[in-house]
Symmetry: C2
Subunit: 316 residues, 2 copies
């Protein structure tokens, strides 16, 4: 049923599954807002050291504020620097299926474990038929049996979502290629409905607040903004979700998330990284996002201190 | 006040203003969904022959379903083919200001009369400060005194709109560069408020249904989907808006628009072009849009016939 692919290829052995805690890796910029590749490599190395997978080019990565060329270049430089592509799930969904296919193909060629694919998100109110055609178009343009697609459902931002009916069609049409989902709806009942309907769907929840629920219902992990700051803490719950104190650990994670959510998330993540890495430039965001003000930064860092949070890492 | 530009350059003489009826030019595809450049050139020539300006890469052009490279290539090929750039206002707004600047720069270098610029539209709920920074970033990256920006306000699709306060800031910061707006809010009261607040703003309404109102309030024209099919009819009202029968002409235009609005607009435009140009391939759309079914095409063409509509052109 997998159209456009060579049925003779043994795709099941060509890539490893990615599970657990994955960060939508924040993207450091230089003062001229160009991508600071060296700092990104360092940050990815630190995340990997915390057992955290790398969803570079997620929403929190400001992926859509980068050009396609910048994304292609950074992905190559990360892999060239020795970042393990089998721990990477780059976001590749653009408005144009031509561009989505180009970035996806490069990710597959580089050996990435999977890709996180937004639906085309410019037109609103599009049909499932149209979205099915869009994903099909990308998969067939890529035409590579190593491809593993994680559908990216984030209606609060993309506005264009991925329904149960569409998921079912894609799973049936592209078994072994469409393998999972990141559900950033913020609605646990949607993740639960997906898990119930599709037992083989590899479900990542888009918030660590739902990590325990997800693991208890057959999910495989989370891809969460806060994993950029607290990968080890979230990984501890992922590993110990069956422990007696798991609910307490979930509550501690929720406290950190609530604290950060008092501020715009992406600027807050980057301001926190700036503080703990000792490099003020980490705070920079590309427009249309706006960096936290000095007042907001101070207030947020005070809030984080009050709950005892620190990014615990060795960073030479 | 115009940052990043050479104050000594006399930018007022370097481009002509574009006014009147402008089509967001529909984009013809081949059967493999690649851009059919030859057919696009022919179509642009026909629109020009009807006194219609060319907003290639508008929403109705499926611009965001094209890659940046495809847009750069088509723009160059149109100009190379002799399409007058002074009659062109290409859409250039991408999610990434880097890409918006690249396409905008090319449009300016090619001599386009202006560009139609969407705000970055991936992140929702962004601030006017962030949008101001985004437009500023593009204008300063382009750094060319010949640039004429028309702000593209289309909240039903982009979700990210352009407020009066943002318009005021941009007009003040970039006089002579930010010169106009296309208002596709579908809300005449918004266009009216803009016209009242900014007498020098060159206002194009995004629907010919508001053309008469716009002209009576100091506007300069319309950029409308239906201009792809009925440029001459809309141009007649534009030229004769002060005539006694102008309201009757407006009513006739509204009847055609209402008929088309019973169908998804972009597929409807392309199916109509396919019929009148005698080339079935014109109907093709890129996903996530879906071509009209044969049943829908027949019903729509019957509806158009019932109101006496025909695309009147000589097309060898």
């Amino acid at each position: 049923m997998r159209r456009g692919l060579d049925a003779d290829e043994d795709y099941t052995m060509s890539t490893a599954d990615i599970s657990g805690v994955v960060a939508p890796v924040i993207t450091p910029f230089r003062s001229d807002l160009s991508v600071d590749t060296d700092r990104s490599i360092e940050f990815c190395r630190w995340l990997l050291s915390q057992n955290c997978g790398l969803a570079v080019f997620g929403t929190n990565s400001e992926a859509n504020s980068l050009s396609l060329d910048e994304r292609l270049d950074l992905l190559e430089q990360l892999v060239d620097a020795g970042i393990d592509p089998q721990r990477m799930m780059p976001g590749t969904g653009c408005c144009s299926t031509v561009e989505t296919a180009k970035l996806t193909s490069r990710a597959v060629e580089l050996g990435c474990a999977g890709v996180l694919m937004l639906p085309p998100f410019y037109y609103k109110g599009v049909s499932d038929d149209g979205l099915f055609a869009a994903f099909s178009d990308v998969i067939e343009r890529v035409g590579d049996a190593r491809l593993r697609v994680y559908l990216y459902h984030i209606p609060p931002v993309a506005q264009v979502g991925i329904s149960l009916a569409l998921t079912e069609r894609l799973l049936k049409a592209y078994p072994g290629t469409v393998v999972g989902m990141k559900d950033s709806s913020g609605d646990w009942s949607n993740s639960k409905a997906m898990l119930d309907a599709f037992p083989d769907l590899r479900m990542f929840v888009g918030s660590e607040a739902f990590l325990l629920d997800n693991m208890r219902n057959g999910g495989v992990g989370c891809i969460s903004a806060v994993a950029n700051l607290n990968p080890g803490g979230i990984d501890a719950l992922y590993r110990n979700w069956q422990a007696d104190n798991a609910d307490d650990e979930q509550s501690r994670l929720n406290e950190l998330r609530r604290t950060l959510q008092n501020y715009p998330m992406i600027p807050a993540l980057k301001a926190t990284a700036a503080q703990f890495f000792g490099h003020a430039g980490w705070s920079a965001v590309r427009p249309p996002l706006v960096e936290l003000s000095d007042h907001e930064k101070a207030a947020m860092l005070s809030d984080l201190k009050a709950i005892g949070f620190s990014m615990n890492f060795e960073y030479a």
